[in-house]
């Protein structure tokens, strides 16, 4: 078949963990010969709709990105270009026939990471550093908590929000503050958290991407998120001329291969692995559902 022309528009530089997941999946799809991929990064809210329009006019059939900062305008653009499919990370729902959305659902993996983390703490206090308390972040942190609590019901939690999506030194300071307050396992929703853990010689959990190579002594588990299933579904719909104005989030589920845990055997407590693996299987089977709690953790 003809290669599908796909454009990616990243609000942050593609170093940003979340964007890197999209970027890598898109690059991989291009390498597989499925699509032709072009992209722009660091596109500010003011420029974002223009980039969408430019790519649509340039003949791209599928445009992938994030409409968090431009929800209203992005839907407007999609309405103006009905011949192009849009697949956007969004807090809102899909719109029309061609504006599809997805959420970042790696909470299942976070739950499993929590189960591994629970017995590793000496103090029984766990920290988590988040960006801002939006549902996707909240769900993730809450799932990690539930995972910990399942194993260790008396665990205590500290949560800090740094008020921005991208300030690693600040995330690090927030992590250090939690360590000062007694936490000895950090859940790093934000890059920078693991640096604090590393500096203080404690352990931490990564999210979205695999942080272990970067912090081999520190990060023992990662709640990975994989964009490829969502992308593949959208590519398929686009090529088939099917309606793409739908919610693609379910392709993030573990059973679809959209998220999973990776961990370093040697770093975790051996006894905790079988229970975790059992749960993992249950999630994949559909016999266990990780609770989805979008409320702001305190």
């Amino acid at each position: 078949a003809e290669k599908l022309k796909v454009a990616g528009i990243h609000a942050s530089p593609v170093e940003n963990a979340w964007n890197s997941r999209l970027h890598e999946a898109l690059q991989a799809a291009a390498k597989d010969g499925v699509i032709e991929y072009t992209f722009s990064e660091g596109v500010s809210g003011t420029d974002y709709p223009r980039a969408m329009r430019e790519y649509a006019e340039a003949g791209n059939k599928l445009i992938v990105g994030e409409s968090y900062a431009v929800e209203t305008e992005a839907r407007q653009v999609a309405a103006d270009y009905p011949g192009t499919a849009f697949l956007m990370g969004s807090s809102g729902g899909p719109a029309g026939d061609n504006f599809g959305t997805f959420g970042t659902w790696n909470h299942e993996a976070a739950y499993l990471a929590g189960m591994l983390a629970a017995p590793m703490s000496k103090t029984g206090t766990f920290g988590a550093v988040g960006a801002i308390p939006i549902p996707e972040v909240n769900i993730l942190i809450n799932a990690f908590r539930s995972g910990v609590k399942e194993v260790r019901p008396d665990a205590k939690f500290l949560v800090g929000f740094i008020g921005t999506f991208f300030d690693p030194p600040k995330a690090r300071e927030s992590g250090l503050a939690q360590i000062d307050a007694g936490a000895d396992i950090l859940f790093g929703e934000r890059i920078g958290t693991a640096d604090a853990a590393k500096e203080k010689g404690i352990k931490s959990v990564g999210s979205l991407i695999d942080y272990t190579p970067r912090y081999p002594e520190t990060v023992f588990a990662n709640a990975m998120w994989y964009f490829r299933p969502i992308l593949d579904a959208a590519i398929k719909d686009t090529q088939a001329g099917a309606k793409t104005g739908k919610d693609y989030s379910p392709f993030s589920y573990m059973k679809e291969g959209g998220n999973d845990i990776v961990f370093t055997e040697s770093m975790v407590i051996k006894d905790s692995v079988p229970a975790m693996e059992a749960k993992r299987k249950a999630i994949k089977d559909g016999t266990f559902t990780v609770p989805v709690d979008p409320a702001e953790p305190t």
């Binding site: 003011t46 420029d47 223009r50 305008e73 308390p133 549902p135 979008p294 702001e296």
Partner: protein
């Protein structure tokens, strides 16, 4: 040794040539960076032109970007001419936007569109003006220099907006995202061109530039504000009320910046986030300086800056040159322009 000597009279040709030379110098330097980035330089310039003017979309996008820059540029030009160093247009822009969004939402004013839109623009202007009146009051009352206070208030305003959109004005339907409630459909500015982002705010901005040019050149207020800027003591001795002039200038300047914010919300975005402005307030200062503080010049300077941003942004997409090149070009144009303008005022003697 090189010495500078002030000209008693700057020839018109030189006054016109200076900005053009500055822009050429900036583009030449940008060419070097583009070449370093491994892209063909001439092709890059061509792509920039196409990106800014090569299609209906390009033209409307360039003009959409021009509108707020005209307004913030005017805000700076008006203030600087009266020697009111308003570095706070960025903050005024944000509070103006916030005011328009708050009053334009479904919990805000309930008026027919013909009244609602002007009322919201006015609200934005008032909010912007109020934010500048604070530093002005400190200057008039206590002699506190406004460069630093207006600069600092930008950050206070940004934090305030952030607080409001995470608090009282937070959109409950935004799934926890910090953004304000959107304005109602009736409050949105009519489009100038269908299926684009270009809205009537551009006409408002150009109209205001013409009005301000006339006011400065022909009116008593224009003359008095110039006198107040150039020599406050003499203006005062001649019966010009410095307080009166500065308050009016502050209202106009802050009002324009606030209006820019309101128009950006009503024309483009519909709600407020903390990244609503990619530095429109600061860029307004650049625009004003490029225009040598001339209101009509501001329109062209804003168009130039918008062209650079939009054109370079598009060029960077096409040729893989980092898109930060647009900011680099604008910054270099400003610096070159400052030098060119000052050299035009002086002759060099050895």
């Amino acid at each position: 040794m090189i010495r500078f000597e002030r000209r008693t009279h700057v020839p018109f040709g030189l006054r016109l040539a200076a900005p053009i030379a500055a822009v050429l110098v900036a583009l030449a330097f940008a060419g070097i960076l583009i070449a370093i980035a491994g892209a063909p330089v001439l092709e890059a310039y061509r792509r920039m032109l196409i990106g800014a003017f090569g299609s209906r979309l390009a033209i409307t996008e360039t003009l959409t970007r021009t509108a707020p820059l005209i307004l913030t540029g005017l805000a700076a030009a008006v203030a600087f001419r009266a020697r009111l160093w308003n570095i706070g247009a960025e903050g005024q822009f944000l509070v103006g936007a916030l005011a328009a969004a708050a009053l334009g939402s479904q919990h805000g004013l309930h008026l027919p569109p013909v009244l609602l839109i002007p009322a919201l623009m006015l609200a934005g202007a008032v909010a912007g003006a109020l934010l500048l009146l604070g530093p002005l009051a400190l200057r008039l009352r206590f002699g506190v220099d406004e460069v630093v206070t207006t600069l600092l208030l930008n950050f206070v305003a940004l934090l305030f907006v952030s607080m409001m959109i995470e608090g009282a004005l937070k959109d409950p339907l935004a799934f926890g995202w910090p953004q304000s409630v959107p304005v109602v459909a009736d409050a949105m500015l009519p489009k100038l061109v269908a299926r684009t982002r270009l809205h009537v705010g551009l006409l408002v901005a150009i109209g205001l530039a013409v009005v301000i040019a006339l006011v400065q050149a022909r009116t008593v207020f224009g003359m008095e504000s110039r006198a107040a800027g150039l020599n406050p003591a003499a203006a005062r001795f001649a019966g010009v009320s410095l307080t009166g002039v500065l308050v009016k200038v502050a209202c106009i300047s802050g009002g324009l910046a606030g209006l820019a914010g309101a128009i950006e919300v009503l024309g483009v975005k519909a709600y407020v986030t903390t990244d609503l402005s990619p530095g429109f307030g600061y860029t307004g200062i650049v625009v004003a300086m490029l225009a040598a503080l001339n209101p009509i010049g501001v329109v062209f300077a804003a168009l130039f800056v918008a062209t650079m941003f939009v054109g370079a942004d598009s060029m960077s997409r096409a040729l893989g040159v980092p898109s930060f090149i647009a900011d680099v070009i604008v910054a270099m144009s400003l610096l070159a322009m400052l030098v060119a303008l000052s050299l035009a005022n002086y002759r060099i003697r050895r």
